[in-house]
């Protein structure tokens, strides 16, 4: 019996915050493999992020994704198109490239870029691309029981992520994930 492997492709904004999270290796309990494009790898500079990324590349939990010229060209078109639309949140090449690869290969796009998330709502070609933020990664870890869950404090890990990264989830999002954890795990 074969099961489909879950593969992600991460952008820089996701990685540099996630690398600061105390339970960052949870990512590899959820994903069989996470790709990092060469464009994204070139943006990583801090000792902390480089150390984590290098060790996970060595363990084959992260892998390098080499973009093709065609993928870069499609990403450039997506960037341009996004800037032509009034009120569209700006999308840049590294995030656009993740969306392009996510669409072509069926990878889950890991990003904290609002423009990338908005693009999946605005552009027909990208509406089927699955985009996860840290919020969805943590929620999946809960729903698939890959993390210890305290039903008296179902948002413990989300709060921990916020403390470590100063990355704030909205109250609306936190309320929704709390309800799902309570309904599906802590019932």
């Amino acid at each position: 019996m074969s099961t489909k492997r879950r593969i992600g492709i991460a952008d820089t904004c996701f990685l540099i915050d996630w690398a600061r999270y105390r339970d960052k290796d949870i990512l590899f309990k959820i994903f069989d493999l996470v790709f990092i494009s060469e464009t994204v790898l070139r943006e990583i500079k801090s000792d902390l992020t480089i150390s984590w990324v290098a060790s996970k590349l060595a363990e084959n939990k992260l892998a390098l994704y080499t973009e093709t010229d065609d993928e870069i060209e499609e990403a450039r078109r997506l960037v341009l198109l996004s800037r032509e639309i009034p009120h569209m949140i700006s999308i840049d090449l590294p995030e656009a490239l993740c969306l392009v690869v996510g669409r072509r290969k069926g990878f889950i796009v890991l990003t904290e870029n609002k423009g990338a998330i908005m693009a999946t709502e605005v552009f027909e070609e990208y509406k089927d691309v699955i985009v996860w933020r840290a919020l969805e990664v943590l929620l999946t870890a809960h729903l698939e029981r890959k993390i210890d869950i305290d039903c008296k404090n179902p948002l413990k890990h989300f709060r921990g992520y916020q403390e470590d990264t100063l990355h704030i989830f909205s109250n609306k999002d936190l309320d929704e994930v709390r309800k799902r954890i309570e309904k599906e795990i802590c019932r």
């Binding site: 820089t12 904004c13 915050d17 500079k45 801090s46 198109l81 840049d92 070609e125 990355h167 704030i168």
Partner: protein, 81 residues
């Protein structure tokens, strides 16, 4: 590449979220820290508070993404997505 008709509801939803995020960034920011920075960094931080656009803010600051993200933490400016 085919452009989809942009539903006004989608735009309205994102504009509301952007306004809410802007309000939180303004409230949580350490304005003493921001105002004590050299002009280039100060303006980049203010730009980020108003827009949430980290890549343009990095260019204004003359910093790479990770260094600017650290500066945001020092300025107590949250990333809200």
């Amino acid at each position: 590449m085919k452009k989809r008709y942009v539903d006004e509801k989608i735009i309205k939803k994102w504009l509301e979220e952007a306004e809410n995020a802007r309000r939180i960034r303004r409230e949580m920011a350490d304005w003493n820290f921001i105002n004590s920075q050299p002009p280039r960094l100060r303006e980049a931080l203010k730009y980020y508070v108003e827009t949430g656009d980290i890549r343009r803010a990095c260019i204004f600051a003359g910093m790479d993404l990770e260094d600017f993200r650290d500066l945001l933490r020092k300025a107590k400016i949250p990333v809200i997505v």
